[in-house]
């Protein structure tokens, strides 16, 4: 399962916001960090605001801030806003009614269910810990470089 670009942008953004819920983060800051267009990101952020996951803060120092519950909100909750998780039965394609098509659909369905279970069991709080774990070796490596 490959996530669409908007979904990835939403996940990057939500994780950035959840890392520091008090801080107002601008779309431009996230766009610059992940190398995406601020215009493209604005649409994603507005979808997240509509879902009450982030809140737009106007004025100087404005931007967005996280309003969800990091211990409850899962990656799947965010992904579902942007991806179609409808069973493949609703997206009929030629060949699907053949035994080969049905067998392939069975395998695809198994993969989708596992992906859903994985995304649905990882909360933002857990994700932030994973991010921290990933950042540690990078920080250690940077410190070693500085020490030389």
């Amino acid at each position: 399962m490959r996530l669409q670009k908007n979904t990835s942008l939403a996940l990057y953004s939500v994780i950035e916001f959840a890392a520091d819920p008090e801080r107002h983060v601008s779309a431009a800051e996230i766009a610059a960090k992940y190398g995406v267009s601020a215009h493209h990101l604005a649409k994603v952020l507005s979808d997240l605001a509509r879902a009450d996951i982030v809140k737009s803060v106007r004025g100087a120092g404005g931007g967005y801030r996280f309003t969800g519950n990091a211990r409850r909100l899962t990656l799947l909750d965010v992904i579902r806003l942007f991806e179609d998780f409808a069973p493949s039965a609703t997206r009929r394609e030629p060949g699907e009614a053949t035994p080969v098509g049905m067998a392939l659909r069975l395998v695809q369905s198994e993969i989708d269910e596992i992906a859903k279970a994985t995304f649905g069991s990882i909360t933002l709080a857990t994700m932030l810990r994973l991010v921290e774990r990933q950042a540690r070796p990078a920080k250690r490596s940077a410190a070693r470089t500085r020490g030389r």
Binding site: T74, P87, E110, S121, T123
Partner: protein, 189 residues
């Protein structure tokens, strides 16, 4: 939390009630220790609140096989909050299943509803992992239903990730026949 798959019954997950300050305070006084015979009734009661079933014979059998000092690698621990059982965890060391070096398996964990969200589950998991370590294993595993997101989330919050093994199953009533439907997400029992 509830029992992981590998135990005998399907699990119904309910949204957890919020643990209050009292629960958090009580959790700080918790001692995780091996289960005793007197703990069996509260353990059965906790399980019943989650599954809706009272499985007295099953729990007696679990107690006979898993309670003790863990010398055989089997662990049945309870979280004791001032003399009251706040939760339990069960597991064992399994050797060389399909080439896997000995590892710890957690196949049941549950916390009394009014003691949840206070770190009791984490304390119990830490305790059983410590005992597994002392048994010489370096890995701990568990397996539960895909739709049991609550317990999946708990284990993930404790650092667990998908492992190198994939659970498979087959409907014995129709063994060898093509599955009639896509893989379902719920437990089979």
């Amino acid at each position: 939390m509830t029992r992981a798959a590998g135990a005998t019954d399907a699990v119904r997950v309910r949204r957890l009630p919020r643990g209050g300050t009292r629960a958090r305070a009580a959790a700080s006084d918790i001692v995780v220790r091996p289960a005793r015979l007197a703990d069996l009734d509260p353990v059965i009661a906790i399980d019943k609140t989650v599954t809706g079933l009272e499985k007295r014979d099953y729990w007696r059998s679990v107690f006979r096989r898993y309670a003790g000092n863990g010398q055989s690698g089997r662990q049945f621990l309870v979280a004791d909050a001032g003399g009251r059982v706040a939760g339990f965890v069960i597991g064992e060391v399994r050797d060389w299943e399909f080439g896997s070096p000995p590892c710890g398996w957690v196949f049941g964990i549950d916390v009394r509803p009014d003691m949840r969200l206070a770190g009791v589950g984490a304390r119990m998991l830490t305790a059983i992992c410590e005992r597994f370590r002392r048994s010489g294993v370096q890995t701990v595993r568990t397996m539960l239903a895909r739709d049991n997101t609550l317990v999946l989330s708990f284990f993930r919050s404790q650092g667990m990730m998908a492992g190198p093994f994939i659970p498979l199953e087959m409907d014995l009533a129709n063994a060898g026949e093509a599955p009639a439907r896509p893989a379902r997400s719920g437990p089979s029992r």
